[in-house]
């Protein structure tokens, strides 16, 4: 089942098919990984692929300009898929699976604007699923201080 995994990403924790990673390593070492199926279309165009993010929202409070958090992305498909998880505008982040029906991936990210996570085919041509991690800046309202010339300060 597990034919190949690619990881070009800066990963803090990756739980994606943990067992398969070890198995893949063994198979790689045995030279049994090839030939490969590399089509991302084998799972029915990815129409039913579900991508979930945790957290889905990062709230910036006063004095904080950036979110710094571990983001956990997980996906599930009705059948085996070959695909890659990317973040739009972040070419340093890319995680691929080949012939898996599910996977998850955790990464520590520092960001100040919305992040768009996408699952794409291995050729990165077709978007199979997409989710947005939103950045919300806490709305701070202000009012007048009390004027107090009678007081000590």
């Amino acid at each position: 089942m597990a034919l190949r995994q690619f990881s070009w990403v800066r990963s803090i924790r990756s739980s994606a098919a943990r067992g398969e990673i070890a198995l893949g390593s063994v198979l790689l070492s045995l030279g049994l990984l090839f030939p490969l199926r590399t089509s991302a279309m084998s799972g029915g165009e990815g129409g039913d692929i579900r991508l979930e993010l945790s957290p889905r929202i990062c709230t910036l409070t006063t004095g904080n300009t950036q979110c710094d958090t571990v983001v956990h992305a997980s996906w599930r498909a009705p059948g085996n898929e070959s695909l890659c998880l990317i973040i739009v505008g972040r070419p340093d982040v890319k995680r691929c699976w080949e012939q898996y029906s599910e996977g998850s991936y955790s990464i520590e990210l520092v960001f100040s604007t919305d992040l768009v996570f996408q699952l794409k085919d291995l050729g990165l041509q077709q978007v199979l699923a997409s989710e947005v991690l939103r950045v919300i800046r806490e709305a701070i309202r202000y009012r007048h201080k009390r004027r107090e010339p009678w007081n000590i300060f």
Partner: protein, 272 residues
């Protein structure tokens, strides 16, 4: 005056020109804490009264949309329009600070020692033939009432009409002051002038001596000169000198030795 002015304004918050943290504006829903570190003193006008050192002066405040806490004062903003603000406030009676070093207001004014009543005495202990008079032992009181504050150009003003709300003396008090920036370059030089008027009931609660003295209403004007220099985003230098003249109703009391109260302070304020 306050009630009349209240009719001229709309509900609080209808026109809020505060869009960020400035000298006049503060974030809603957050605690603000600062502490002044320095050296200073407030004189104690009581006979044998010990002066109040000013070394560490913590300041805290919290502003809700209408409710606010300002050190030991509590308030509710009824209306705000343009430069006028109308509040209902509750504030501690001030004069107790001269009698009790441990009074909470001394915590916000200076550097309180352990419990140490500044109980005045009229004669040295052991004086032959002296009549023993029980010294005043004022309790903590809270005054409540309307407050009008305003900003007219660079000048800010405050007028509080207060009445004892704790049933201790049923006295009245009027506090009024103007804050006037005099010079603004690297730092700011400002002057505050104002007064406190205390009804006879308030004066007597603190300064009456049974058999010997019963006071009348007192008018206490004050003037303060201050200088503030921002040192960084968190620190600013601050120095001020204030003199308050005590009205005759207070100064004539046999437990009062001075006709005025002087305050000086030089230090730095750190805002958290």
């Amino acid at each position: 005056m306050i009630i009349a002015g209240l009719g001229q304004v709309h509900a609080a918050g209808n026109e809020d020109d505060c869009e960020g943290p400035t000298a006049d504006c503060v974030a809603i829903g957050r605690w603000n804490f600062s502490v002044a570190l320095g050296a200073g003193v407030r004189t104690n006008p009581l006979v044998n009264g010990k002066d109040i050192p000013l070394v560490v002066i913590p300041q805290l405040s919290y502003y809700g949309k209408r409710f606010f806490i300002d050190n030991l004062d509590f308030g509710f903003t009824l209306a705000e329009r343009g430069g006028n603000t109308f509040n209902l406030i509750a504030t501690p009676g001030y004069d107790r600070v001269y009698f009790y070093r441990s009074d909470l207001q001394n915590f916000f004014i200076g550097f309180p020692n352990a419990f140490e009543p500044g109980t005045p005495s009229l004669v040295a202990s052991g004086t032959p033939g002296a009549i023993k008079v029980p010294p005043p032992a004022p309790r903590i009181t809270y005054l409540a009432g309307p407050e009008w504050t305003f900003k007219y150009g660079p000048v800010s003003g405050q007028l509080d009409l207060l009445r004892d709300a704790t049933g201790q003396n049923s006295g009245d008090e009027i506090r009024a002051a103007l804050g006037i920036p005099l010079l603004k370059s690297v730092g700011t030089v400002s002057a505050n002038i104002g007064f406190t008027w205390k009804s006879a009931a308030t004066v007597n609660y603190y300064y009456r001596v049974p058999i010997l003295y019963s006071g009348s209403a007192a008018f206490d004007p004050f003037i303060k000169l201050g200088y503030t220099l921002p040192l960084s985003s968190k620190w600013r230098f601050n120095a001020f000198a204030e003199y308050e003249r005590l009205g005759n109703g207070i100064a004539d009391s046999p437990i009062v030795a001075a006709h005025g109260v002087a305050t000086v302070f030089v230090g730095a304020i750190y805002t958290f």
